[in-house]
């Protein structure tokens, strides 16, 4: 299967069929931190990815202080 990853953008190949849970395990990714997308639909951890499938593993966790503004007061 072909796997499209982000941060940095790259492509990997893993032998299928393989369960999504196992693929995430191979890549040491927590299922809470990504979405797995195949043909514009979401794929759950229990599903199998076939050898000729292409999937995207999209991270969902943003960093940066924009997610944690240091607000002591909302006045400046």
């Amino acid at each position: 299967m072909l796997i499209k990853c982000h941060h940095p953008a790259r492509e990997l190949t893993i032998k299928g069929p393989r369960q999504v849970r196992a693929v995430l395990g191979d890549l040491k990714l927590l299922p809470e931190t990504v979405l797995v997308i195949r043909n514009d639909t979401l794929v759950t951890e229990d599903e199998l990815v076939a050898d000729d499938d292409t999937i995207e593993i999209r991270p969902v966790i943003s960093g940066g202080a924009h997610s944690l503004p240091p607000v002591a007061s909302h006045a400046m």
Partner: protein
């Protein structure tokens, strides 16, 4: 596997924290319910009030904007063009494309035009981190633009992961003042401050991203190049590790904090703080000069000197107080 709600369609997403798994249609209903519940519980805004939505072009803010307009709220987007290279260009382009496609009004506030420099220049001249400069300028812009254009409230796309990570950070450093102010809805505690609300606080970051994907929202997936702020990512990673082992940990941690805030005496004490008006710009502040004016004074000074300023290199207060608002209405 079939959806646990309608028992018909295939599962699109598992929600272990709710012991359920939903199809795309039932998940959509779940997301709308959670947001409506957040808005109602905190009386964030009504359907007859104009809401300013802070939109960065990422999944959270575009997802929020999409939700609010679908739910029948009157929304206008405000996007701050930060001037951080290709990332900011893509962010503005995706935000504009979304607004145009939905026929929604958008205000673009360009830091280069307003201050003669973007986040990087403001950070360098003020010797602050990019994120601290960026956060200060954005909060200032949202409040000022909102108030001047008659919006009683500004909504941001902060999700459960953002809020739980922030709570963890505040607790690890015992930032008691910050704990008191951490709320999904900050009241307008001064005539010049508008309400600040976070309607997505009940949804995890993954749920918001799933919503954006299912709605086919074209958002910026790339991260801001300044976002290597290790702390927030570490806190989120730690919380997700705990969540993985024990689903529901994140929501319990944050929602229970909100429930117990009055009991632990960490409830907002905004009323107790006396606010003055900034000597330069007139915006509310606890000091004499507001944080925003202290931040951008060095950049204003540079411009003054470079352009043969007659002020002996001292910042001219008028530069700061007369920030022109180049409001650009799209659609």
């Amino acid at each position: 596997m079939r959806c646990k709600r309608c028992h018909a369609a295939p599962v699109a997403i598992k929600l272990p924290r709710h012991h359920t798994a939903l199809c795309a249609a039932c998940f959509d209903r779940y997301v709308v319910d959670q947001v409506e519940r957040a808005i109602k519980h905190y009386r964030m805004f009504r359907r007859d009030e104009p809401v300013l939505v802070a939109v960065s072009g990422g999944k959270d803010s575009l997802g929020l904007w999409d939700l609010l307009q679908r739910m029948g709220y009157q929304t206008t987007g405000v996007h701050v063009q930060q001037g951080i290279g290709g990332y900011s260009g893509a962010s503005e382009a995706k935000t504009r494309a979304f607004a145009e496609a939905k026929g929604l009004p958008l205000i673009v506030y360009d830091l280069n035009k307003e201050y003669g420099g973007g986040v990087t220049a403001i950070a360098e001249t003020s010797r602050r981190s990019a994120c601290s400069a960026c956060g200060t300028v954005k909060r200032y812009a949202f409040n000022k633009i909102g108030r001047e254009l008659g919006f009683p409230v500004v909504a941001t796309g902060h999700n459960l992961d953002d809020e739980a990570a922030r709570l963890l950070g505040n607790l690890l450093r015992w930032q008691v003042d910050y704990l008191a102010k951490q709320s999904p809805a900050l009241p307008a505690s001064h005539a010049k401050l508008i309400r600040k609300v976070k309607p997505l606080f009940r949804l995890t970051e993954q749920e918001v991203a799933a919503y954006a994907v299912l709605r086919k929202i074209d958002y910026v997936i790339d991260e801001c190049p300044m976002s290597h702020d290790a702390n927030s990512l570490q806190y989120k990673a730690a919380l997700n590790q705990l969540e993985h082992q024990s689903p529901g940990t994140k929501q319990f941690f944050y929602l229970e904090f909100l429930r117990r805030q009055p009991i632990v005496g960490a409830e907002s004490t905004a009323e107790a703080v006396v606010l003055n008006e900034c000597a330069r710009c007139g915006e509310p502040t606890t000091g004499e000069l507001c944080g925003h004016c202290r931040l951008i004074a060095p950049l204003a000074q540079t411009h003054q000197t470079e352009s043969g300023g007659r002020n002996n290199g001292r910042a001219d207060p008028s530069i700061v107080s007369n920030i022109p608002m180049s409001v650009d209405w799209t659609a």
